[in-house]
Amino acid sequence: MKILVCISHVPDTTSKINFVNGDSEFDTNGVQYVINPNDEFGLTRAIWFQEQQGANVTIVNVGGPETEPTLRKALAIGANEAIRINATPTDGFFVAKQLAEVIKTGGYDLIIAGKESLDYNGGMVPGMIAGILGYNFVNSCVGLTIEGTNATVNREIDGGKEIVSTTLPLIIGSQKGLVEEKDLRIPNMRGIMTARTKVITVLEPVAANSNTKSVQFEKPAPKSAVKLIAADQLDELINLLHNEAKVI
């Protein structure tokens, strides 16, 4: 089984979010980057397939050379090889087009991409790849087993989950639940050493449109300070929620 895990290189949650160049670009100064958490759940599941079912795991990212440390980390966790598509990810469709090309050429059986990224939260890349390639697709995946070419997938739905059956090749949108947080792999020294010699293949992008463009960023208006209510004045809290906030 050939697995491709799509890795987004995103600012860590605790990063300060600021913008430069007239608020048109994200300020990367001092920002710590990580593997997108939803992708990391998928990567760990892929490593399980590698260990238990002999799968080969390739990771792929669309980004410049500055994203390679994130790819090295994913290699240290256990991916066999890496591909970097050397382009600036301008929008979800552009990224999906690049990934679709890699998938077509590589003949992967299972493609895992986080259901959304931590930075732009678009939640569109896995679905767009599926749309472009016409592959089977299950989003919000919280469980996956594969036997031969048959897949059983648990999908999170509003208020519960559903079990779906489908066949490979398959694209899934991964999230927490596919593996649990405690199962996430932390690279060990041996993994880090081995990752140094693994190959990152750099591909040039194929021609593709961006269908959207970022015009400008804005930061939310500063929040007014919390209204503190004394613990023996709970009637006042109810009054405020009813008359001021109008939520009860």
């Binding site: 600012p11 949650t13 605790t14 958490p37 929008d91 469709f93 931590l118 930075d119 732009y120 939260n121 678009g122 939640g123 569109m124 890349v125 679905g127 767009m128 599926a130 749309g131 089977n136 697709f137 299950v138 989003n139 739905i157 509003d158 208020g159 519960g160 989950k161 559903e162 079990i163 779906v164 059956s165 489908t166 066949t167 949108g173 999230q175 927490k176 639940g177 947080e181 405690k182 269908n211 959207t212 970022s214 015009v215 960023f217 804005e218 930061k219 939310p220 919390v226 209204k227 503190l228 209510i229 004394a230 613990a231 709970l234 009637d235 809290l237 929620l241 009813h242 939520v247 009860i248």
Partner: protein, 321 residues
């Protein structure tokens, strides 16, 4: 040309989000000088859509579409958009709609922007405002294609009544057998409980509750308010509560009208998942808890003393209102 929405229903009844989508679409259609068409799938009586400004309904009634199939539903929406020559398609942010939105966008060669909040900033060029960086920023995005798909962020616009005279039309799109290559074999839904996705109010507990045996407090407060219950990540990691209740960055996102956090300190990952809720209340014994920085109302004190009192007072309040 018109503006198309997919008005979601479950078991023959519209979801609330269908009315929010209609209210929003009505305003956008006005600014574009066009009308609103809704496509429905096995929705039963569709006349309620007239209250929220929908001008025309394309009713799809098809037994093969009884269970949700993202590909088949996306195919229906695509064909409805083509039939109406829709230039703008507005979809919601339910789990199902997020699932099918990208498929719709690709099939229509449309640019797609999700998590859109508010009306378009400009209609020519077509620019919308969306959230980014887990609600820590907004981005103005321009959609440059002829057909545009917008995903409206949950609970971001509200339901606004505006009467219209509704034309109903039966619509029979071609459904391809290949649309069902992903088959639902079973559905597990917790019945009788308000789900986090549908709730107007969410009551959430953290490690400050000291143990799973104290969850009765959270549940009782939720009951009084008709709210869903949720928990912080440590609580689900400790196994006090099921993972399905974990809200936050890696858990479920919450965008309710009222979020009440009890014994939750407010780690940045938790806040990232809940901060699009409109009103946040925090009850915590630690006045330095970071949650107080993002909350609208706060009570400093012992949850085991405050919450029972709050329950009694809310019961009395509810009896009068």
């Amino acid at each position: 040309m018109s503006l198309l929405i997919y008005a979601e229903s479950a078991e023959g009844k519209f979801k609330k989000v269908a009315f929010e989508l209609a209210s929003y679409a009505k305003k956008v259609a006005e600014s574009l000088g066009t009308t609103v068409t809704a496509v429905t799938i096995n929705a039963g009586d569709v006349s309620d859509l007239a209250k929220y400004g929908v001008d025309k309904v394309l009713k799809v009634n098809n037994n093969t579409l009884t269970g949700f199939s993202a590909k088949a539903y996306a195919d229906v929406i695509k064909q409805a958009a083509q039939k109406e020559s829709a230039k703008v398609v507005v979809l919601s942010s339910t789990t199902d709609s997020i699932y099918l939105s990208s498929l719709v966008a690709v099939s229509l060669d449309a640019g797609f922007t999700s998590n859109v909040v508010g009306l378009p900033v400009s209609t020519s060029p077509f620019q919308v405002k969306r959230t980014a960086f887990s609600n820590k920023a907004f981005n103005i995005t321009e959609i440059t294609t002829d057909v545009k798909v917008i995903g409206l962020a949950k609970n971001s616009y509200g339901i606004i009544e505006s009467n219209s005279s509704l034309t109903e039309e039966d619509f029979n799109p071609n459904i391809d057998a290949a649309d069902f290559n992903v088959k639902v074999t079973s559905v597990e839904k917790s019945s009788g409980k308000v789900s986090i996705a549908d709730a107007d109010i969410v009551v959430s507990g953290g490690r400050g509750l000291k143990g799973p045996e104290n969850w009765g407090l959270i549940e009782e407060l939720a009951n009084v308010l008709g709210a869903a219950t949720a928990c912080s990540k440590p609580v689900s990691d400790l196994g006090w509560r099921p993972h399905a209740e974990h809200v936050g960055q890696t858990g479920k996102p919450v965008a309710t009208n009222l979020y009440i956090a009890i014994g939750i300190s407010g780690a940045i990952q938790h806040i990232a998942g809940i901060n699009s809720s409109k009103v946040k209340v925090v009850i915590n014994s630690d006045p330095e808890a970071p949650f107080f920085k993002v909350a609208d109302y706060g009570v400093v004190g012992d949850a085991f003393e405050i919450v029972p009192q709050l329950i009694e007072k809310l019961k009395a309040f509810k009896a009068q209102h």
